[in-house]
């Protein structure tokens, strides 16, 4: 914005400056639009994708559990496999908080709103899960079946530790609608 007193000074270069200013203004507007897209607009627009993503993170975790189950219940000998699955699960703990940080409660989701009213507890449950996954990795490394079974059970228990307070029960699940 030019003030009246500046006019004489600015008159000459203004022609050249105008396109530049416009370009800058448009750039800013564009950036602002993108910003907005990340806030309110996006919540509506990207809610479904947010939900799909965090459910994918959970499915990855679940698939590792299923794979360990396949190995254990059928007595398959695949050297090192349980330990590797367990380590990958421990590592995937880092994906959970970022995946759930955006508060999206509407749509095809089983996430309870309590996640965002009790974020600290949610994070505690992530830590418990990570610890249980590491414990299974150590048990598997020891090769002692008497340790692996209980460690696997404890890891399963850590899923429930978070699902009980933060995931809707079956009778309310989007999957059973």
């Amino acid at each position: 914005m030019t003030r009246p007193s500046d006019r004489s000074v600015l008159r000459r270069p203004i022609r050249r400056a105008l396109p530049l200013a416009l370009a800058i203004a448009m750039g800013l507007a564009g950036a602002a639009a993108v910003q907005a897209d990340h806030h309110e607009g996006a919540v509506a627009l990207k809610a479904a994708e947010q939900i799909a993503y965090r459910q994918s993170v959970m499915s990855i975790i679940g698939t590792h559990m299923g794979a360990i189950g396949d190995l254990m219940k059928h007595g398959l000998a695949v050297p090192g496999a349980i330990e590797t699955h367990a380590k990958l699960m421990a590592e995937s703990a880092a994906l959970i908080a970022p995946a759930f940080r955006a508060r999206v409660t509407e749509g095809a989701t089983d996430a309870k709103p309590e996640i965002w009213t009790d974020w600290t507890k949610f994070q505690t449950e992530i830590a418990e899960y990570e610890e249980a996954a590491n414990a299974l990795a150590s048990a598997a490394a020891s090769g002692d079946p008497a340790k692996i079974g209980p460690a696997m059970k404890a890891l399963g228990g850590s899923c429930g530790g978070c699902h009980k307070p933060f995931r809707k029960p079956k009778e309310e699940s989007y999957k059973n609608k």
Binding site: I61, M152, G160, K170, E171, K177
Partner: protein, 325 residues
């Protein structure tokens, strides 16, 4: 009939509330006379002789086979610190909320004043020591099939529990469902003591599995859909129910491939009952996770394999259970 007992199924149509009310009135008289009869039955007190340690230990196994009687421990209200088997847990049903009772040996509020015969009658006939009918939320429909020895051992185990003083709560259910007299009619419609038919060409494991699934573990009480009068729909045995206790949705566990657990093999089911983990790696929710943790998971592997062997042979029924809107 795979369950192997006599079937008396009601298929009356119309409003079940009206039906029950009519029945309640019709059977009020029957109950009254029943009461008079039972009130006079002697209630001998089990004298000082403490049950032996082996019976208590066997009784603990029977308790595991029942799923740990977790309905009698108020985990939802009090967490893991809830006094074991002291009751007070609200169980939501389509007919109202019923509260489980105190099974500890407390004299005033629990089973301290009961004899073994009282206990056996409660489990087999759904009758209290003074002749009152129990609400069928207590699965005597299944427990009526328990063997004498198992009932004696379970009683020995219950006697060994620390006594907890906790008053039983009346149900929060509308009339006539809160009225025990209604139950005489309900029982007439829906209750036949469970008797297993001989099955000479089946394996020992299958027979054991049939006994566990239908009597002790009472899988059908949650997994079988109910009729209008709240009885188990025996034509759809284990085909899934959305009216499980606490309003829970219990899936179809018949061997139907599309809607049941036909895709699970025996190892999947044994693993599930031990770990509470499904073939896809997901964990278990609600009451099922409790009956596994406090019950089935503690059974010997052979019992879990027996359950799997039997379950694979029940009729496959297509029924996808959906949540009520």
């Amino acid at each position: 009939m795979s369950v192997g007992h006599h079937v008396r199924v009601d298929r009356r149509s119309g409003s079940h509330r009206a039906a029950i009310l009519a029945l309640a009135l019709a059977f009020g008289l029957v109950l009254a006379s029943g009461l008079a009869l039972h009130a006079s039955s002697a209630r001998a007190q089990a004298p000082g002789s403490a049950p032996d340690a082996q019976a208590i230990e066997r009784g603990r196994q029977v308790l595991y086979a029942t799923g740990g009687c977790t309905c009698h421990t108020n985990y939802p209200g009090e967490g893991e610190a809830a006094p074991a088997l002291a009751g007070g847990r609200g169980l939501e049903t389509p007919f109202g909320v019923f509260y489980s009772t105190n099974l500890t040996p407390d004299r005033e509020t629990g089973l301290g004043g009961w004899s073994q015969a009282d206990f056996v009658r409660a489990m087999r006939e759904g009758l209290s020591p003074d002749g009152q009918h129990y609400f069928p939320v207590f699965p005597y429909t299944a427990f009526s099939g328990l063997e004498d020895g198992d009932l004696r051992d379970l009683w020995a185990y219950l006697r060994s529990l620390p006594a907890v003083k906790r008053e039983n709560r009346p149900p929060d259910a509308p009339f006539p469902f809160s009225w025990r007299a209604t139950l005489a009619g309900w029982k007439w419609l829906n209750f036949t003591p469970l008797v297993f038919e001989p099955a000479p060409d089946r394996s020992e494991a299958w027979l054991r599995g049939r006994y566990l699934v239908n009597a002790a573990a009472h899988c059908g009480e949650c997994h079988t859909p109910r009729t209008l009068t709240g009885g188990l729909d025996r034509s759809r045995w284990l085909a899934g129910s959305r009216d499980g206790p606490e309003g829970e949705l219990a899936p179809n566990i018949t061997p139907d491939a599309a809607t049941g657990i036909g895709e699970w093999d025996a190892a999947d089911l044994v693993w599930y009952l031990e770990m509470g983990l499904k073939p896809d790696g997901d964990d278990t929710q609600g009451l099922m996770s409790e009956v596994i943790e406090h019950g089935y998971a503690n059974l010997p592997r052979a019992d879990l394999e027996a359950i799997a062997e039997y379950l694979a042979t029940v009729p496959a029924i297509g029924n996808r259970v959906r949540a009520a809107d």
